[in-house]
Structure formats: C-alpha cells, structure tokens
C-alpha cells in the first residue's frame, strides 16, 4: 500500500480527480447561485408590479387582487385587501402579515393561509402597500416553486458529482498510467545498465518533449561511459597482454639458463637478457602510470612560462645525433619571435621528444625529418614531419589512443604508449593534436598551442 501511495502515478490520478471535482463544485455553485438569483428576481418584479398595479386605482383594488388570485391554478398566488382596522375586504389571505413592511418591496414572510379549505402555515414572497385611505393591499406568491428549483439544481449537482469523480479518476489513471509505462521502460533500461549491461539505452519517443530530451542526454552520457569503460578495459587487456609476452620470454630464458649454463658467464648472460626484458616491462608499466598521473592533472606544480622555441630547438638537438646515425637529415625551422606559453617545460619537451622519436623510428635510411615551430592565427604550432610510410587516414584518429600501434608499426620496437603520452600531455595543457600527410608523403604531427593558457 505504501508503495502504491508513493507511486507518482497514484498521486497523479488522485490529484487530477480531486482537482476536477473541485472545478465541478465551483461550476455548480455558480450555476446554482445564478439560477436562484434569476428566479428570485423574476418573481420579485412580478410581485412588485402586481401590488403597484392593484394599488394604483383604489376603486378597483378588490377586483384586481381577485383577478391575481383567480389567475392561479396551482394555489400559489395569494393576495388580500385589508381595511385600516385590519378587516379583510378581499383576497384569499385571512389576515395581514404583521411582519411585512408596507414599502412595496418583496419580503419572505411566514403566515397562515387557507388552501382548499385547510389552514396551513406557508412561507410567502410578499409585497404590501398602504393606500391613501389607510387600507392595506398585499400580494404574495408561494416560495415552494423557487425552493424546488433550487433543490433540483442541488440534486443535479449531487447526482453529477459521482460520475464526475469517477471520470476524473479514470482520466487520471489513464494519464498517469501512460507516464508510468514510459517510466517503467526507462526504469527497466536503467536497471539493466546498473547490472552492468552498458550497451543498454533508454527508449526515446518521437514527441521530442522534455522526457525525450532527458532520455537522449542520458543516452549520450551512457555512450561516453561505455567508451571510457571500453578504453579502460582495452588498456587493462593490453597491459596484461603486453606483460605476458616479455614475462613468458623471461621465464623461459631464466629456466633455460638455470638448466643449461655451464659456467657463471653463461648464467650471467641469461640474467642480463632477463634484466633487459624486465626493464622493458617496467618501462611500460611506468608509462601507463605516468599517463594516468598526467591525465588526472595532478602535475601542475611545475607549470611556468615556457619558450617553445627553446624546447623545440633543444629537442631537435637531442635527437640530431640519433638521426645522423640513421643517415636521416633532421631539419629545424623555428620562427623568430613566438609567444611564451604557460606549461610544464619538461612535459612539453617529452611530448616533442616522443614525436621526434617516432618520426626517426619510422623514417627509412637517408630520409628526412623536419621539426618546425610557427604561427597559425593565435596558435603556436609545433610540427614534426617525416618521410616515413605515413599513417592511413582511417588510422589517424586512433594513433593517440593508448597501446594503439598502426599495422605497419607492429614490426618495430615500442609499446604503443608514446603517442598516448603525447595526447595526455596535450590534454593537460589544453593543446590539441593533428595528424596529416607530410609534404614528403610521410606523416605530419602537429601540437597546436593556444597563445594564452586557459588555466
């Protein structure tokens, strides 16, 4: 029961029923009041007219009130002409109603009347006037007719109230039921999401109302949550997978070394190889943690003014010998005066280094890598362009995702975290990234830095 009363559908139904009943009552009261006032008014005018008419000609008063009385078929007309000493001269009223003011206006007065030979006490609408000779004329009408009319209206109200209430409740139940059905399907979908089915979506109607918009927004939110969960799951799987490979190799190598090493040097060799693999593994774990740290924006203590020109030049200088070893020409093209931006110098250097590292890794012997810093509108643009195989358009969106390694990159060494780190660093700084095709057919990576940091 308490669940029923808590249900908003029930409360809606009840509310709608009560409200429409209240409206009906007000309407009826108004009709009743108007009807009663109209009838009353009508009768008052007749009585006022009659009594004045009767009194207008003293010689015909008796005849006129007899006519008034005789016009009546239902014994509802009463009249009387009384001498100044109270004697009845004409009409069907035995005595002058003492309480009646002789002002020609209509008053409700209780008095004794004789109807069909019986004497009854009746309430009469009466009007009386004193004539110039001191005699009194009274014209009256039974109140029953108006009272009956009023009673009829009240009865009609009473009779109509039941059906009104019933229909109101029915309407309320139907309306609330419709809303409840809609809510129930939404509730069911939410319950399934709560139980872990993130692919579930809320039903969206075609009306485009507030409810539909809410459902659409919730669905958008679910899309984002699903994407994030997928990404986390993907990272988890990728970490586990990338850990298993070197650990398996490590285990085999150590096992073989332990069984087959003939002297301490051979054993040491096995251990050294193992250490290399462990270092690679740790490097990957550290990279994952660092991306996490950077993404959570927990490192801002090192934020300060950064001269991109210096960072880019130093990064190029750091990689120049490595490029030279591969016979790659590393060209640097830095525009003279660049705006100073706000950021973590070391992180930005690391991002540029990662781009350079990739560019050199994927550029074949005797190729070229160009590092640039220029302006595009309000943006400072750091670019790294190579003459490597490039990235197919379809894969460009994905390269900044953690552990993503382009098909062509599978053969080269790496953990697929370098660009993920670049993406995290860019996000921390409010930079955006772009991948396009380089002029030499290779890949062009850009870091777009707004002039004023939004922080």
């Amino acid at each position: 029961m308490s669940r029923l009363t808590r249900s908003f559908a029930f409360r809606w139904a009840l509310g709608i029923a009560l409200w429409s009943t209240l409206l009906s009552l007000v309407l009826f009261a108004f009709v009743y009041w108007q009807t009663a006032a109209f009838l009353q008014d009508e009768l008052s005018q007749v009585l006022r007219h009659e009594v004045r008419y009767a009194a207008s000609d003293p010689s015909k008063v008796g005849a006129r009130i007899e006519t008034w009385v005789s016009e009546d078929l239902h014994s509802v007309h009463f009249a009387g002409l009384f001498s100044p000493d109270g004697r009845k001269l004409a009409g069907n009223l035995d005595a002058r109603p003492q309480a009646l003011p002789l002002d020609g206006e209509v008053h409700r007065i209780g008095t004794q009347v004789a109807i069909a030979g019986r004497r009854l006490h009746e309430d009469l609408w009466s009007a009386g006037i004193a004539l110039s000779d001191g005699s009194i004329v009274v014209v009256a009408h039974d109140t029953d007719e108006i009272d009956r009319a009023q009673a009829t209206v009240i009865r009609a109200l009473g009779l109509a109230l039941g059906p009104t209430l019933a229909f109101s409740i029915l309407g309320g139940v139907l309306l609330a039921g419709r809303a409840k059905r809609r809510l129930a399907s939404t509730e069911a979908a939410v319950a399934r999401v709560m139980h872990g089915d993130l692919r579930q979506r809320l039903p969206v109607g075609t009306a485009g109302d507030e409810f539909d918009r809410l459902a659409q927004n919730v669905n958008g939110m679910l899309d984002e949550i699903e994407r994030l969960v997928e990404e986390v799951r993907g990272v988890g799987d990728a970490v586990a997978h990338d850990l298993r490979t070197p650990l398996t190799r490590l285990r085999l190598r150590l096992e073989r070394g332990r069984e087959q090493a003939r002297d301490i040097d051979e054993l040491r060799e096995a251990v050294d190889q193992g250490l290399v693999w462990i270092d690679q593994t740790l490097e990957m774990v550290t990279a994952v943690l660092r991306i996490g740290e950077i993404e959570h924006g927990r490192r801002c203590a090192a934020f300060g003014p950064v001269d991109l020109g210096v960072v880019v030049s130093e990064a190029a200088e750091l990689f120049e010998p490595l490029a030279e070893e591969k016979g790659i020409v590393l060209a640097l093209d830095v525009e003279g005066t660049m705006p100073v931006i706000e950021g973590d110098c070391s992180l930005i250097f690391e991002a540029v280094s990662n781009l350079l590292d990739n560019a050199i890794k994927f550029t074949p012997m005797n190729g070229q890598v160009r590092v640039g810093l220029g302006r595009r509108g309000d943006l400072s643009v750091v670019s790294v362009e190579d003459t490597g195989p490039g990235i197919p358009t379809a894969e460009r969106e994905q390269v900044f995702r953690r552990f993503y390694r382009a098909e062509r990159a599978r053969q080269t060494q790496g953990n697929g975290l370098g660009l993920g780190l670049v993406a995290a660093i860019a996000k921390l700084h409010g930079f955006s990234l772009a991948v396009t095709e380089g002029s030499g057919g290779g890949c062009r990576m850009e870091i777009l830095c707004p002039a004023t940091h939004p922080r």
Binding site: D272, T286, P321, D344, S346, D357
Partner: protein
C-alpha cells in the same frame, strides 16, 4: 667506504638495497619506520641518508623537514613510488638532495649515492683537468694534450659534467637531468649516441680510452695518465 642510513618500510626492497650497497663497500644501517628512522638520523653520524617518501608512523618528507629544521645537512636521497614531477619537487623542497622514483635499478641508486657522497665539487674552478684532458670553461674550449677539441655547446656541458666526476659512474638518467635539465627517462639509446659522438672527438686514432661504458650502470671518465 661511507656510513649510510636507509629508512625504508618494505623489507624486501631494504634487503636488496642493503645487500647492494654493502657489496659496494658501504656500511649501511636500516630503519623500518618513520620514528625509528628519525631517532637513528638524529643520534647517528651519517654520510648520507636514503629515505622512503611514505613511511609508517612518520611521513618521509616531514622527517626530512624536521631534520633540516634542526640544522642537519646530511645529504639525503628520497625514494618514492610516486614518480611524478610534482612529487619530485615536493621531495626537493622538503630538503632532499636527490630524488629517485620506484621502481629503480640498484646501480642507479648506487651511482646517485656516490654522487651525493662526493659532493661538494668545487664549482668555482674555471679550468678542469683530467689526465691529458683540459677544459676551459671561460673560453669554452677543450684540449687533449696538444690537440684542440672542436666541441658543440652541449658536448662541452657533457664533458664538464663528466670531468667534474672523474672515476665516478654516472647513469644516463643523471646525465640527462644535469646536462639537459629535463626530468624524464629518455627513450632509445639517445644518451649513448651523444656520449659516442663526444668519444669520437676525444679519442682519435688509437688514443687511450677516456670515457668507459660501465655495463648496466652508465659511463665513467677515467684519467689516461
């Protein structure tokens, strides 16, 4: 041979560090909690202190701050599982002389301890000499014996760094931090390539080797005479 204090709550890590440093000829004491470490640091006389960032009972940085507040200037190296730059800054602000993120390689720790122990190098010298090698910091020129060396600015800095630490093993990370001033672990064999280039300028045509590669640890510059 130095007297070292290790304040580290993880027994397994402590055991490895103790074993390694003792194997290198140091005398190392171990405290497992913050309060224990604070007492040991105050009462003993140490050449260097290695302390974990997070310790039971007393936070490592608080311990260090208290120690510095009391006027103790013993070189201290902060270890931490929190590897990020903010943490490093906090560690150094609290009075740490160096900072090493976990996981670390034992050789890296040993090299950094060594560097702390050998401080202070006299930084006022303007002409450095190691064997036949001579570096004039004012004019930015180097000579090996009678031969002038044609060095790029970064190579000068790298050589200066090595010449201030003759016979001492310096790791790639240490070089990267001190010579390039950036704090992350560089990928690939970047540092090796730079060292290799410097070596080709220093050791021409059968001259005795000056910069040695210490396997699994780093590089060391040794005098040739």
């Amino acid at each position: 041979m130095a007297k070292l204090l290790l304040i580290e709550d993880d027994a397994a890590t402590a055991e490895e560090v103790l074993g390694d440093l003792r194997g290198r000829g140091h005398e190392v004491a171990w405290a497992a909690t913050g309060p224990e470490g604070a007492t040991a640091a105050r009462t003993g006389s140490w050449n260097a202190i290695i302390l974990d960032r997070m310790l039971p009972g007393l936070d490592g940085l608080t311990l260090l701050r208290d120690l510095r507040g009391a006027g103790d200037r013993t070189p201290a190296l902060v270890l931490s599982a929190l590897g990020d730059v903010d943490e490093r800054i906090h560690g150094l602000r609290a009075g740490g002389d160096d900072y090493l993120g976990k996981p670390f390689v034992l050789a890296e720790l040993a090299a950094r301890i060594e560097a702390l122990l050998r401080r202070p190098t006299d930084t006022r010298e303007t002409v450095l000499r190691v064997g036949t090698l001579e570096l004039d910091l004012i004019s930015g020129t180097g000579r090996r014996g009678l031969r002038d060396l044609d060095l790029l600015p970064r190579e000068l800095k790298l050589l200066e760094y090595l010449m201030r630490r003759p016979g001492q093993v310096v790791t790639r990370a240490m070089m990267f931090e001190e010579v390039w001033n950036y704090r992350f672990t560089p990928k690939s064999n970047l540092i090796d390539v730079h060292v290799g280039r410097l070596r080709r300028k220093l050791e021409v045509g059968g001259e005795p080797i000056l910069i040695h590669n210490v396997r699994g640890e780093g590089f060391t510059l040794t005098p040739d005479v």
